[in-house]
Symmetry: C2
């Protein structure tokens, strides 16, 4: 019998009414002849309520105890959902992370899953039960409660699917799949039937916030087919799998973009060995993440050094550069009115000239490219933020993304 792991997020289980609707969806999937394991998050609002209670007492609260507190959120949901299932005639059984058990390391608040014991779940499935597991939580080797940090419930679902060798891991969210780009920017944006892990990772890291990167990495590592679908409407969603022949036909799968960009340029830095490290070490020591880096040869043995950071870190980074001693530079320039647009597609591997096409399309619209960065399956450009919509729409049309994927 096929085994499916389903994961429902906080909004999907945000009220007892919604929990009962989720129970109906689960029963429907089971009645189609599947074994079902469900992973749930805390009811929307619940985690915030708990965080606020903790804040009233201590900031930051004791890390171990904070996990004990937060873990109650998912525990409430597993019990209510199991009640709803049994009430609707479907035998069900809930498990906390500790009960499964989902063994993690002991890094409270952002633990990593080490091992999952699937014995109880297997037994229950063999008895025809639906198994409901609390997402986001586990226990360490000493039976202390741990939580997995942001996006933890997705990770729990994927890890369970891997441990159980599930046929599919379905992530139910408030969107009905992964789109070629953000439909709020391009109304013609199309839901993708399928996308491969690498593309999804690029899409996710660039701001398509459908799935947490960590869970996609996990799914990719253990080759767990992931499907993103809507809790609120029926539909096939988007399947995320290993790259396969069918996929290679599409040049570009999607266009990701990020508005949270800022760049800093050191003009006329003396070009000597170790200068990049000299500039970037204090930046990374301040926990500022650097994304793109470009170094151009300037005049008189000097160089122009440019890098981008998250817009929230812009002022911090600028202050660090200004305080930097022994930095012989003409000028430090900054710009936090920039955005990043990226073409993503495994098709780039076998097709040359996509970058050229991209640059020409943007040039035709009069959009100046400030920085370029490429990887095997991605081309990113930095442009002025006012051209974001124009750039994304032009590229979406020019690469024919509004049309269904067809074999070439």
């Amino acid at each position: 019998m096929p085994l499916i792991v389903q994961k429902y997020g906080g909004t999907s289980v945000g009220s007892t009414e919604r929990i009962m609707a989720v129970a109906k969806k689960i029963i429907a999937a089971k009645s189609q002849g599947n074994d079902i394991v469900v992973v749930v998050s805390a009811m929307s609002g619940e985690t915030n309520r708990l965080v606020n209670l903790a804040k009233e007492i201590a900031e930051p609260p004791n890390a171990r105890e904070f996990d004990v507190l937060l873990a109650t959120g998912e525990q409430v949901t597993i019990s209510l959902l199991s009640m709803a299932l049994t009430e609707q005639g479907c035998p069900a059984r809930s498990y906390t992370g500790g009960q499964v058990s989902i063994l993690t390391d002991n890094t409270h608040n952002k633990a990593r899953i080490l091992e999952i014991n699937d014995q109880k779940i297997r037994n229950d499935l063999n008895q025809g039960k639906v198994v409901v597991v609390a997402g986001f939580q586990g226990v360490d080797a000493d039976n202390n409660i741990t939580t997995l940090g942001r996006g933890g419930s997705d990770t729990t679902a994927v890890a369970l699917a891997a441990a159980l060798k599930a046929d599919e891991c379905q992530i139910y969210t408030d969107v009905d799949g992964v789109y070629t780009t953000d439909p709020r920017v391009v109304p013609d944006a199309r839901r993708l039937e399928q996308i491969c892990f690498e593309e999804m990772l690029e899409m996710a890291s660039l701001g398509s916030k459908v799935l947490q990167i960590r869970s996609v990495e996990f799914a990719s590592k253990y080759n767990v087919p992931l499907r993103v679908l809507s809790s609120f409407e029926d539909g096939p969603g988007t399947l995320i799998t290993m790259e396969n022949n069918k996929m290679e036909k599409a040049l570009i799968s999607g266009i990701a973009f990020s508005r949270d960009e800022a760049k800093l340029t050191l003009v006329g830095v003396k070009d000597r060995p170790g200068i990049a490290a000299h500039i970037l070490t204090p930046i990374s020591e301040a926990n500022v993440e650097v994304d793109m880096i470009i170094q151009n040869k300037g005049e008189n043995n000097t160089t122009d050094f440019t890098f981008t950071v998250h817009r929230n870190d812009y002022t911090k980074a600028l202050n660090i550069l200004n305080d930097l001693k022994e930095l012989e530079t003409k000028e430090i320039l900054g710009d936090d009115k920039i955005v990043k647009i990226s073409l993503v597609g495994v098709g780039m591997r076998s097709h040359a000239g996509i970058a050229t096409t991209m640059f020409r399309i943007l040039a035709d619209e009069g959009i100046n490219i400030q920085m370029i960065s490429t990887s095997e399956i991605k081309i990113s450009v930095i442009i002025n933020e006012k051209y974001l919509e124009l750039g994304v729409r032009s590229l979406h049309t020019a690469f024919g993304l509004e049309e269904a994927q067809k074999p070439a």
Copy 2:
């Protein structure tokens, strides 16, 4: 080092502010040179919130899942209290019932404690930590979460005190001790310094709702000294222990009463063997608890049969009697305007004539006694409810209960 188990109920931990105040009390007790283990209930209101969520889904909800749900209430409190303690510089560690572990049978919603593993708690105490344990909950042999039912947190505290051989189990409530009678009825009522388990059991079962009967039974069985005190003001409270020499000097320890009484009389029942069983079997089968029973010889080989029930069960019991076949009776009478007053004291064992004194005092006030029931350390009478206050006050004064206990 003396070991004290402290238990704080829902009102005592009803807000983060109160939790921080409780943390201060704990630290004060620890700084006096005691090892401290704390048992807490869910924050007041929290259990109701959870019950209502369950009701929205199923009534009654699945018993196993209901326990999973309810157990989150205490889990929230243990984490917040441990945070408050560590924030105030006192090392602390929380444990759910499952983590301790508190092993129970598998009767969900009213499980019984079978065994407590004290190893983790001992280790923490040896490291100078305060240990905070979730009341009301445990796990069965298959690691399913169970709850202990009403008053469960008191039971957890006493069971832990017994397992750890604690020097004292302190139950913090919203009253500052056990009184000779209800101070709302007798303003002169006096807090008892000490009372013995048997007396406390009689007081508790008769409506002095300071402690749950089950926890007193447990404390008595394992000889755990219990102390009832206030969370909100300092004071010695009331110590509940084994009967000792000092106590025997007091004739009467207190006067309990209950307003929730009703009586039913079958007049002129044919007196034949098995008639009591014939009347009471359908009553108990309907889950109606019978308290006092009196059977008087009547005329012509008939008998008058009277018994009392909880006032809430009055109509139910009356209907059962009226439907009873083969019951040759002249008349069925009922009265739900009655109350019970009880004198409680181990001193009765060695002093005769207390019952006579009691009856005389009531007679002097013109109060008619309708039924009488006695045990080794208790005399109960049923009277018309309008005489409750008069009766209790007269007895309280006549037996000198407003004065401090003195050796005779």
